[in-house]
Amino acid sequence: MRNKGRKWQGMAAIGLVLVMGLADVALAAEKIVIGGMYPMTGRGGRYGLDSVAAAEIAMEEINAKGGVNGRMIDLIFTDDKSSTSYAVKVANRYIKEDKVNFLMGVVSSAVGLAVTEVSKENKVIFVGTDHASTALTMEKFQPYYFRVSNNTYQSAAAAALYATGKKEWKKYYVIGPDYEYGHRTWEDFWMLLGKKRNDVKMVGQAWPKLYEPDYTPYITAILSAKPDVLVTSFWGGDTVAFIKQALPYKLFDKMKMFNYDAGGNYEVLEALPNTLPKGLVLSARHHNNWPDTKENKEYVKKFKAKTGRYPSYAAEGAYAGVYFIAEGVRQAGTAEDSDKLVAVMEKMKFKLPEDPPGFTSYMRPIDHQVVQVQAIGETVPNKSFPPATMMLGNWKIYKAEDIIPSAEEILAARKAAKK
C-alpha cells in the first residue's frame, strides 16, 4: 500500500517535469519587449489596470507610427499582487523566460525596492512608473533604475513652498497610514517647511494602519486639537473613507485639509461625486485638467475612449514609461545594450502629457529621477469630468528645479546609508 503511494508521488513528480518542459517557449527578439508588473487585484487594482490601459495606448501609438527603429513594442503584464516575493519571481521569469528588454511598473514602493535588486543583478533596466519612495533614487540607487513619475520628495518640496506662502497656516496636525510612504511624505515636508518658517508647530499626529476602515476616533481627536491645517498622507480609498467620515463632523469647515502627493488623484474626486467639500488643497502626479494643453487633453480623451473612465495618475506614469523606453531605444539604437541605454537615458528629455507649455520633462543623471513641474490646486466645482463634480483649480505651479533634492543632499544620503 505504501509503495504504491510512493510510486504515485514519483510519477506525479516526473509528470511535472514533462509539463514544465512542454510549456511554451519564449519568443525570439525582433520586438522590443517590456515586462510590466502592476497590481490588478485588491486595493491597488485600479492603479494597476489604469497603468496597463495607458501603457497599451502608448504602445499602439508608437507601433502605429512604425515602431522604434523599425521594431515594434510588445507589452506583457502580470499582476504582481503587491507582493515582494511574487514580484521578484515574475521579474525573474520576465528576464529568463520571456527575455524582456525592460522591466516596468510597480505601484508599491516595497515591491519596487525588491525589483530594483533584480534589475541591478541582471543589468536589465527597470523603469519605475508609480511608486514614490525617495529611497529608490537616493540611498538604494542603482544605475539600471529610472523613475518617470515624481517621488514623495518632489511633492513634499512643492507642498513646503505652498505652505510657506500661507501665513495663516501655523498649527499643523498630521494623519497618515502607518507605513513608510505615509511617514516619509510628511517628514520631508515638515523638514523643508521648517527651513522656511519658524512660526509653525505640530499640534498632533495620528498613524492609523493602512486601509483602516474606521477613522472616527482619530477625527474627534483631531477636532479637539484645533489645528489650522490637517496634512493627510493617505492615498486612494483611505482618503475617501477619511473624508466620508469627517464630513458629518464639519471638519473641513474648521481647518484646511492638505494632501499634496496623492489626494488629488482622480479616483478620489470621482468617488465622492456629491459630497466632496470645496477648498481642499490637493495634488497628484498627473491631473486630467492640468496643464490645459493639446497633448494632455488628447491623452485623457484617448484613455476615456479606451476604458470608459477617466484615468488616475498611475496611468500617466505607465504611459510615460513606454514613451521613455521608446525614446531611449531610438536614441541609443539598441534595446539590448543596457549600458549604452543608460548612458543615453540618463540625459534624456522626453515630452509628456503633464508637461506645461515651454517645459519638457527630463532625466537627471545623478539619481535617474525625472524632473517635472508640480501643480497644487484646490477643489472647485467642475463637472467636465463626470462622475466627479469637483476638480482641482486655483493652481499654484512650482518650477521643476525648485523641488528636487540637491546633488549634495543625494550624495550625503547615500553616504549615510553606506555606513
Binding site: T41, G42, R43, A206, K244, P248, V268, A271, R309
Partner: protein, 293 residues
C-alpha cells in the same frame, strides 16, 4: 484632558465598536454553532456593500429597504455557500484544514466576481439626507448616521439574544452548539438549522457592509481587511461566544479611541496588544464557554 474630549472619544470609540461588532457577531455565531471559522466572512461584508450600492445608488431604491435587501442578498449567498459546498466537508477527517481552504477559496472567488461585475472604481452611496448632518448631544456634536449605527448594533445584539434565548430556533442552535449528534437524535433538523444559521450570520456580515458603505470605501479587497480585525474581537471575547464579540468590540473600540491620544505612533499595535494580553492570561477569551479550553 477636558471632559468634552473624553466624551467625544468615548462616543467615537462606541461607534467603532458597534461597526466592529456587526461584522464580528456573524463570525462568532458561525463559529459557535457551525463550528467553522469562516474566513470568507469579510467577503460577505464586501458583498453587502456592493449589493447596497447596486440597489441604492444604481436602482434608486430608498436607503433603508436597500440596506435590508443587501443584507438578505448576502445571507442568501452565504446560505448557498453552506448548502452547496461547506456541508460536504462536515465531519471529514482533517476538517479544520479543509474549512480554511474552502472559506479562503471563497475570498478569492468573491473578490474576482465583484471585480468582474463592478470594476475597481470606488463606489459611493450617500447617507440618507436626514442623517447626513450632526446631532447635538449637550456640548457634543455627533454624526446622526453614527448614532443610528450604534442603535442598529444594539438592536442586533438584543434581537440575537432574543432569538438565541427565547425561540425554539434558538434552543435548537444551543443544542447543536453543545452537541451536534445529540441534537440530531433529539429531532433537531441539524442540516437545515446549520444552513439557516450560516445564512443569518452572513446576512449580519452583509448588513455591516451595507451600513458601512456610506462611510467607508467600497472597493475590491476590502473584505479581507476586516477579517483580521473581527477575528481579534472574537478571540478576545471568547471564540463562538456571541456576547464575547460584543465585549471584545467595545474593548477594542475604546482602547483605540483613548490609546491614540497618548501613543499615536503605536495605534497599529493596540488591538494586537490587547489580544496578546488576553491570550496570555485567559487563552480561552474573556467570556468563553466552559469546556472550550
Amino acid at each position: 484632558m477636558d471632559a468634552n474630549l473624553v466624551a467625544a472619544q468615548l462616543f467615537s470609540g462606541l461607534t467603532s465598536a458597534m461597526t466592529l461588532f456587526l461584522v464580528a457577531s456573524g463570525l462568532s455565531l458561525i463559529f459557535g454553532v457551525v463550528n467553522v471559522f469562516n474566513f470568507a466572512h469579510g467577503s460577505f461584508y464586501l458583498l453587502g456593500a456592493y449589493f447596497a450600492y447596486q440597489v441604492v445608488s444604481v436602482s434608486g431604491i430608498p436607503f433603508w429597504p436597500g440596506v435590508l435587501l443587501a443584507a438578505v442578498g448576502a445571507g442568501i449567498a452565504g446560505g448557498i455557500m453552506e448548502y452547496v459546498f461547506l456541508r460536504r466537508i462536515y465531519g471529514r477527517g482533517g476538517e479544520a484544514g479543509f474549512q480554511i481552504l474552502l472559506t479562503y477559496s471563497f475570498i478569492l472567488i468573491i473578490d474576482d466576481v465583484v471585480k468582474m461585475i463592478w470594476g475597481t472604481d470606488y463606489k459611493s452611496i450617500e447617507r440618507p439626507e436626514s442623517l447626513s448632518g450632526p446631532f447635538a448631544l449637550g456640548d457634543l456634536s455627533v454624526p446622526r448616521y453614527d448614532l443610528v449605527v450604534i442603535l442598529v448594533g444594539i438592536l442586533v445584539a438584543a434581537g440575537m439574544w432574543w432569538i438565541i434565548r427565547k425561540t425554539r430556533f434558538g434552543r435548537n442552535l444551543r443544542a447543536i452548539s453543545a452537541n451536534r449528534e445529540m441534537a440530531s437524535c433529539l429531532g433537531v433538523n441539524v442540516p437545515l438549522t446549520l444552513s439557516l444559521v450560516f445564512g443569518m450570520a452572513t446576512a449580519l456580515g452583509g448588513l455591516s457592509g451595507a451600513l458601512s458603505a456610506p462611510t467607508r470605501t467600497v472597493t475590491p479587497g476590502a473584505g479581507i481587511e476586516v477579517i483580521i480585525g473581527s477575528l481579534i474581537v472574537v478571540v478576545i471575547g471568547g471564540l463562538g461566544n456571541f456576547w464575547g464579540a460584543f465585549v471584545g468590540a467595545l474593548i477594542i473600540g475604546e482602547v483605540t479611541a483613548f490609546g491614540i491620544l497618548f501613543l499615536p505612533q503605536w495605534a497599529i499595535l493596540f488591538s494586537y496588544a490587547v489580544m496578546a494580553l488576553v491570550l496570555v492570561f485567559r487563552p480561552e477569551g474573556l467570556l468563553a464557554r466552559k469546556g472550550s479550553a
